[in-house]
């Protein structure tokens, strides 16, 4: 049934326990789902970890070719065997092919099916899905298609940005709050943040920042390398790992990585028990090894926060409340660092930092269904690209910087093969309605002359503001016949408002 029909139903009838109003945060590394608890009028995160109370499950699938069986989440991670590969990172690849949408449909179905397990009569009354703040409208459309294919197209009320979910959560807990709020999200794909001026539902974005290197994925990689190092040291037969050993170490890392950072009742260093090998052995983790992983990240985090505060317009660079979310803030070192940067300030961490976005989204869903009063959230943001920037290829527009991405965000490198002997790239903008406008060009003086169709270039554009762009173009060569020449073009392009 369409969510609007449920809204009409709830206008005259009480919501009962079989109606599920959901917030879904299908993330690139982990996912969480929350339902609106009508008794307490709060979002409650569903335990999808197999009954052990954890809010999130890995966004991982495994397809067993022999039996046709799909394995999900934690079970899939633990079942890594080298023969049936794990499907990971598919949410981040949405819109990019590679069966990402198909995998997302399978995963989403399983995620929502958890409701039917706790209540066999469950009816999905409405869903708000969360996406990162910087995703493009095209990705949002792909995600809508995923929901439709999974059978939840009618239930999908909205695709909300993470900050909408967080601010909804904040404002329902503190109705009418005002002041400067910093939102920090430390996740698998980096650290993202924004400073907002909040005045009830009226919110203005003052500053944003993003660092893809400051990620929990970077921590995971560091931990894997550390554990693999211990393993090889014990084994003493060189550093080459077989596929089976790599699979075992990947599982071992998944199972043990958190223990390096969790608060423990004793101060002693963590000890690892390598039970998967024979004979088993144990190894105390040296404090300096852990520091080797997190030390550099702590410094980057400090710079990240300073950078974001520095971008706030005007002389007042202070914030009143700092809200920290994302799996990265389950690690005490990250909490300590942020708390120390705002010594004595109102810094908020959540026990369920991976589930808080889903909670906020379930509150948004309840709001849209008329189960909670409307807080009138309205975010004004001049830090997002209002249009696409790109080039024309074969008569069509090819976007390089996407509408909806943050200013200053790295949007990925585009590669082109020049089709004539011209030595310039013409840049266009494309607005929401598809209207294209020539905005300037980069003249590639000194680019080596080659036969037509054998000059390949890499193009990166970073929008400093909606009107000022940094353009970087490099010659990447063409196969073995024409190696890269080292040619680089760096230029700035400004357009009038």
């Amino acid at each position: 049934m369409d969510w609007k029909k449920y809204r009409a139903h709830f206008a005259h009838n009480k919501i009962d326990e079989s109606h599920f109003v959901l917030g879904v945060d299908m993330g690139n590394a982990t996912s969480a789902i929350s339902f609106f608890d009508p008794l307490r009028r709060v979002g409650e995160v569903l335990d999808i970890s197999g009954g052990y109370g954890k809010a999130a499950a890995p966004t991982v699938l495994q397809h067993i070719a022999d039996s046709g069986e799909w394995i999900f989440g934690e079970y899939a991670v633990l079942n890594a065997n080298g023969a049936d590969p794990l499907l990971t990172g598919f949410v981040g690849r949405l819109g990019g092919g590679d069966n990402a949408a198909e995998s997302s449909v399978v995963y989403l179905k399983e995620l929502v099916a958890n409701c039917r397990s706790i209540n066999p009569k469950a009816q999905i009354a409405g869903i708000v899905a969360v996406v990162p703040d910087f995703v493009t409208p095209e990705i949002v459309d792909v995600l809508r298609d995923v929901y439709r294919a999974a059978g939840y197209g009618d239930a999908l009320i909205a695709v909300a940005e993470e900050r909408e979910a967080l601010l909804t959560h904040y404002l329902y807990n503190e109705p009418g709050a005002s002041g400067r709020v910093m939102l920090l999200d430390f996740g698998d794909r980096g650290m993202r943040g924004g400073v907002y001026n909040v005045d009830g539902g009226e919110v203005e974005c003052l500053s944003v920042n993003m660092d893809v290197d400051l990620s929990t994925a970077a921590v995971d990689e560091g931990v894997y390398d550390l554990f693999a190092g211990y393993y090889c040291e014990n084994r003493g037969e060189g550093q080459e790992l077989s596929a089976a050993e790599t699979a075992q170490l990947t599982i071992f890392t998944h199972q043990h990585k958190d223990m390096l950072f969790q608060p423990k009742p004793t101060a002693k260093q963590a000890r690892l028990y390598f039970n998967f090998t024979y004979p088993p052995f144990s190894r105390q983790v040296a404090a300096e090894d852990v520091w080797g992983i997190v030390g550099p990240l702590e410094r980057v985090m400090t710079d990240f926060v300073a950078g974001m505060l520095g971008k706030i317009p005007g002389a007042n660079k202070s914030v009143d409340t700092i809200i920290c979310t994302g799996g990265g803030f389950e690690m005490p070192w990250a909490k300590r660092r942020i708390a120390s940067l705002f010594g004595g300030g109102d810094v908020r961490f959540y026990k369920n930092s991976k589930g808080i976005l889903a909670e906020g989204a379930s509150l948004m869903a309840a709001e849209r269904l008329g189960l909670l009063p409307d807080i009138g959230l309205n975010i004004i943001d001049s830090h997002k690209m209002p249009w696409d920037i790109g080039v024309q290829v074969g008569g069509g527009f090819y976007p390089i910087v996407r509408r909806g991405t943050w200013l200053g965000q790295e949007c990925g490198t585009a590669y082109f093969i020049l089709q004539d002997d011209d030595d310039k790239i013409v840049l266009y903008s494309r607005d929401e309605k598809g209207g294209e406008k020539r905005i300037g060009m980069a003249v590639l003086g000194g680019l080596p002359r080659r036969p037509v169709g054998t000059t390949k270039i890499a193009v990166d554009i970073i929008a400093k503001t909606a009107y000022d762009y940094m353009v970087n173009i490099r010659d990447v060569g063409f196969g073995e016949m024409f190696p890269a020449s080292g040619y680089v073009y760096n230029g700035e392009l400004s357009v009038s408002e």
């Binding site: 934690e74 079970y75 209540n119 423990k264 004979p279």
Partner: protein, 545 residues
Amino acid sequence: MNWEEYRKEIEAKGKVPEDWYILGIDLGTTNSVVSYWDNGAKKPEPIDTSGGFGKIPLPSVVQYRPEDNGPGEWVVGEEAYRSIKIYPETTIRSIKRKMGTNEVVELGGEEYLPEEISAKILKQLVNYCQSLNPKAEIAGLVVSVPYDFDDSAKKATMRACELAGLADKLICLIEEPKAAALAYNFRRELAQDEKILVFDFGGGTLDITLFHVVEKNASKIKLQVISEGGEAHHGGDNIDEMIMAKCYGLVKDKIGLEAGEISPENTAELALRSREAKERLSGVKSFRIPFTFCIPPFVEQLTREQFEELIADFIEKTRKLVQKALREAYTGAVYPDGVDRVLLEGGSSQMPWIKSMFIEIFNDESKIYTSERPALDISLGATYYAAMKMGLLVSPDVESEKVDVEFEVTVPHDIGLEIQNGAKRSFFAMIRRGTPYALAKKSHVFTLSGDMPEDMTRLDLKILERINKDDRLEDCKLIGEVEIQGLPGRPSGKTRLRVTLLVEEEGGLVKGAVEDLGFGEEFGPSGYNEVFDPSRFNKRVVGKS
């Protein structure tokens, strides 16, 4: 301060100080869980005791690591579990199964009673609470016990609290299904008159309890137990043992090694792998068990189908226990149609065959509900109960005032005395199974007779618990022996004594009293009136010699 003094302080202050913690503890066979009352959110929150291993519960594993120069080290929880293979002979698992017995375990040359080992788990749970907040002060706690626990096991649990330094903080014990129903009620509104079957399947115990919601309004919830079944030693551990037995068979077939010849380290490896196989087969249809210690090493695949075949007798027994609980309801047999919902609780209830079994019994999938937090609910429910006892519980409806929760729980086993009639000794039931706790106070008048004068001034009472109704006297469990001294010296047959046994409403512990009623006009009542608290460890002596 004891918990009652904390309660008074809370009442006087009108709030709970930030550093005061009200806890609910599920002291489980395989895993234990501690939750605290979050007075801001007005709900319990579990504490992650895994040390970052990805699960909230603390494995109920206690390990002693001997040291060459020192007293040795005690390790409790996940680290102890993960290092079983390194310390196989000094690692204790599933101690709950021995609670209430005098079976000691020997570690480092010392003998420990089960409650002493349990106390170490309790201490570790409290340590985790203190790692959450170093200034944490435990204001009160409720500890859960299986419904089917006998009196001595409950008393051993209380003793464990005492040994952990929590005696004056212990508000009461709570029966596990009661805690599970309570936690569920606060998340999913149970309806008036609803009948809900709680299937609480843990590592060691299966409790099957049928509740009837007899009263439900904004300020009060009353749940009545109308049937109780299950078995004390029927849980996930039994399944691990079956897989392990299969593993022994495989080792023998492949490399000719008998079970008794496998080293303790490798036996521990098999135990870990057996549990892993059971857990993983809940999410995958086949699991490859590696036998890395064998020469040559080999891998054996176990499919879910083979697994369910392996434990077919266990599944069948579970089915019979469910049917028995329905058949033997105190209010008359309940048919599956009369049950509104089945709630699957406990870590072991995640196994797919459980749901299939219920669908088969009830022929209606829409009645089978799985708890959102099956492994945590008992601790959460115990915390709700603790909060209620501390005067903090409010209804889930945020607009209502404080709420009262009332349970009409029934006595799970017959309680009585050993009596001698001539040469024949027998069990005399005073409180019958199924008697509501509120009514579980029964007296019986006995006339004292004997050949010797001292037979008239003293009396030995043996208080027993009959677990199954067909058990003989020798099968009954001893609750305790009491020696009644200082009775008035009268001729044989001229002393009438009223012996009273009662089961306490909170925690279900057995207490008693003895009163001299005299004998007609000839011998008036002497005023002799003594109460007693039986213990399995030593004979209680009451009255003056």
